[in-house]
């Protein structure tokens, strides 16, 4: 009888510990994982795992407004080269200094480069670069590059000016939240 009571107490104690452990980790449950990285994203974003090469995530807005964000991995070039490439996708004559903001930062084991720019977007056609580009006026781009010791991740969002501007803080927070698993 005593043994049954002892086992019951032990099992009860284990269940209690499990309960508080689960409660203690609930706070981190809002991080999501895709392949080698984890991240936190706002509720207003519609996030899909990409099936395309070099792409990890494809993100749009729940509202359906003109905003498209892609997280890339293993694409060629350094952070600076890609930032310059993205800047080059906007019409040069409209690249007033005020419209291009590049910031560099570091946090723990990662270096972060951020780009925010507005102007006329010449949509790149990766499948057929010789084809005439589609021009989108009053457009914006948010770019982020995260350099971990052995890997780089690229985040690019494009959309109409107002939507890009509205999502600028969310974008920054998203980029800073990306960690290696």
């Amino acid at each position: 009888m005593n043994r049954i009571l002892t086992y019951s107490i032990i099992i009860g104690f284990c269940l209690f510990i499990s309960y508080i452990s689960i409660n203690g980790t609930n706070q981190i449950a809002n991080r999501s994982v895709v392949e080698t990285i984890s991240y936190k994203a706002p509720d207003t974003w519609n996030i899909n795992k990409s099936e395309k090469q070099f792409r990890l995530l494809e993100i749009t807005l729940n509202t359906g407004e003109d905003f498209s964000l892609v997280v890339f991995s293993n694409i060629q070039g350094t952070a600076d080269q890609n930032i310059q490439r993205w800047i080059g996708q906007f019409k040069k004559d409209e690249l007033l200094e005020d419209n291009v903001l590049v910031q560099k930062d570091s946090l723990d084991n990662k270096y972060i480069t951020l780009l925010e720019m507005y102007g006329t977007y010449e949509v790149p056609n990766m499948a057929n670069p010789s084809q005439e580009k589609v021009i989108k006026n009053d457009y914006g781009l948010l770019g982020g590059v995260i350099e971990f010791p052995n890997s780089l991740y690229f985040i690019k969002a494009v959309g109409i000016n107002s939507i890009i501007s509205e999502n600028s803080d969310n974008f920054r927070e998203f980029v800073y939240s990306i960690r290696l698993n």
Partner: protein
Amino acid sequence: MIQSRINKPKINITTDENYKFVRKTIQESYLNTVCAEARCPNIYECWNRRTATLMILGDTCTRACGFCSVKTGKPTWSDPMEPYRVAQAVKRMNLRHVVITSVDRDDMKNDYGSTIWAQTILQTRKINPKCTIEVLTPDFKAHQESLERVFETKPDIFSHNIECIERISKAVRAQANWNRSLSVLKDSIKFGLRTKTGIMVGLGETVGEVKDTMKQIVDLGVQIFTIGQYLQPTKNHLAVQEYVSKEQFEDYKEFGKSIGFKIIESGPLVRSSYHADEQARAIFNQR
């Protein structure tokens, strides 16, 4: 409600020769440290690294904040030689970066200890010209002359803690005023000083309130921010409402960087002067 202790931070209590050296230096210089007086959980780690936060103007504070274990009462401390002894202790410890703090001296009308503060900074710089000086000051009741007396000595980092989010501020530090602390930070920034502040979490605030506070602080122009877990120093102090997870501290850190803090320290055992030497090196390297 049973408070989960899963996230309660573990404290390393081993000591070595450096710890003994710091303790001896402090004792022989007749100085106080906030490490000892406030029962800081990092005292072993910091003193083992030969760093300490010197506390001037005595060991008795005129305020009785609910989180702080520094003795409260009517101070009798009046020591015009303290600035010199602080400077000598810094030299003896061969510090490259020193953090100096003090008790509140609301009893010293129209000065609030600012004269001793200013002399301490000047004397420390004179004897230790290569040592950078970080000050963690009281609010001097936002008395402009007192604040300017300290500002004019141009400490390398001026720090004043807001301690917690605004909603619970009255319960956490009854004799202080959250907006007054904000005005001290504003004045420091306006004076052109590199400015730092910090809060404790686990006192009943929400994640959203912490993030809103961080936004408010970064918008002022504060460059360095610290967030640490509140730990109850004795049973007579405010109870811990929550042990915040390491993941949440990481989240605060990432958020803080994303909104523009140059340096952010966030972790269970982070205190305002925890690894301050490393923060200082990082921010001076960003110049």
